[in-house]
Symmetry: C2
Subunit: 201 residues, 2 copies
Amino acid sequence: MSENIDKFELILSSSRKLIEEIGFSSLTMDKVAQKAGIAKGTVYLYFKDKDDLLEKVLSTGFEKMFERIKNRVAVENRVIDKLGALISENINHIYENRYFFKTIFLDEVNVVFLKKKSKESFNLRRKRYSDFIGDIIKSGAESGEFVSGLNPAKSGYMLVSLIKTAAIYNFLSERFEPTPEMIENDTKEILNLFLHGISVK
Amino acid sequence: MSENIDKFELILSSSRKLIEEIGFSSLTMDKVAQKAGIAKGTVYLYFKDKDDLLEKVLSTGFEKMFERIKNRVAVENRVIDKLGALISENINHIYENRYFFKTIFLDEVNVVFLKKKSKESFNLRRKRYSDFIGDIIKSGAESGEFVSGLNPAKSGYMLVSLIKTAAIYNFLSERFEPTPEMIENDTKEILNLFLHGISVK
DNA sequence: TTGAATTATGACTTTTAAGTCAGTATAATA
DNA sequence: TATTATACTGACTTAAAAGTCATAATTCAA
């Protein structure tokens, strides 16, 4: 019985290690079995199929992280301290599992591309756009409108991700036919968040 | 000669349409050929392989968007207006190509999962975390610390994406062994951006 | 100790999709 | 019109990986 639990955990941890090494897109059941030092058929005794295995890899990871963040946040009393604790705990968790998250975060490119070259040009485009925004931000910092000490390129990435996230939020909320007003509103909202944040002045 | 260019464009646009309908992860060369009403072999006369085709689908789309945004931004003089124009133009572009972008943005889940059920639980976890943050933000809005009129859940998504983006930025910059100070710095930076933005007060 | 139940194995089957290429149709040229 | 060059076709080959299952090893219980 306890043997079973061990094997279940063994397969999970082997999968996690493999994902760190080769990414989701190259993960195969054969490799998982090999990594765990067991036969492929055995994997299917503990997991319904590949989908089930990956779902469990991600869900157990998430639950661990969420639990940790909730506990840390509960200690703080003031709202801003809660947010600070949350961010810090989240970043720490990402870094402690950095190879896993690196794969998770960057593997999105692998959905689409099979070859290194295309991945590189994908990242290059992302960089070109962020740098373009970075230049605008830089000139704002030089004119004294924006705070000094900003990393312009990084801030560019941040703005791009805010725009993308707003779109994803709308897509997930089934908002597909936006009126011009809605778009104007979204624009204002993102610009405002990026320029002034959510605090009252 | 002009026939060739037409077929090249035909394959590109058929691929784009297909991606809108079924996503990257289900795209096959057979389906592309069928959609374009040509033989599979013909696709390989215009594109080296699948990777080449997808790379060109994405790069042409990006160049179009980037050109458009650059032109629009160039019209404005003040930095803040430039940023506003950029955001607005970017959002507009996303909405005009909404089905394509919906797939691009949400297909990241498909890297990992094959079945609908797992995708749903993935989105559910994302929502649970954002809602948790949303609750904190809500209490901050109620106490008057944060601006009113915020959508807490959406703001939660925004914060999560800022954290994620900061990590991606570090990963892309090959920063894998962060000191505690670097993590503390990142935390402050994100919290500060989220609370106060990049403008000077 | 033995035989029933449980767990494990890995060769095999099946599926899916990328990529090829010999043959066919169409267009260009002499 | 005949010949060459170019463009197109889709059945076929190849490859990769998911999932199965008859058989073997191990554990457990009487």
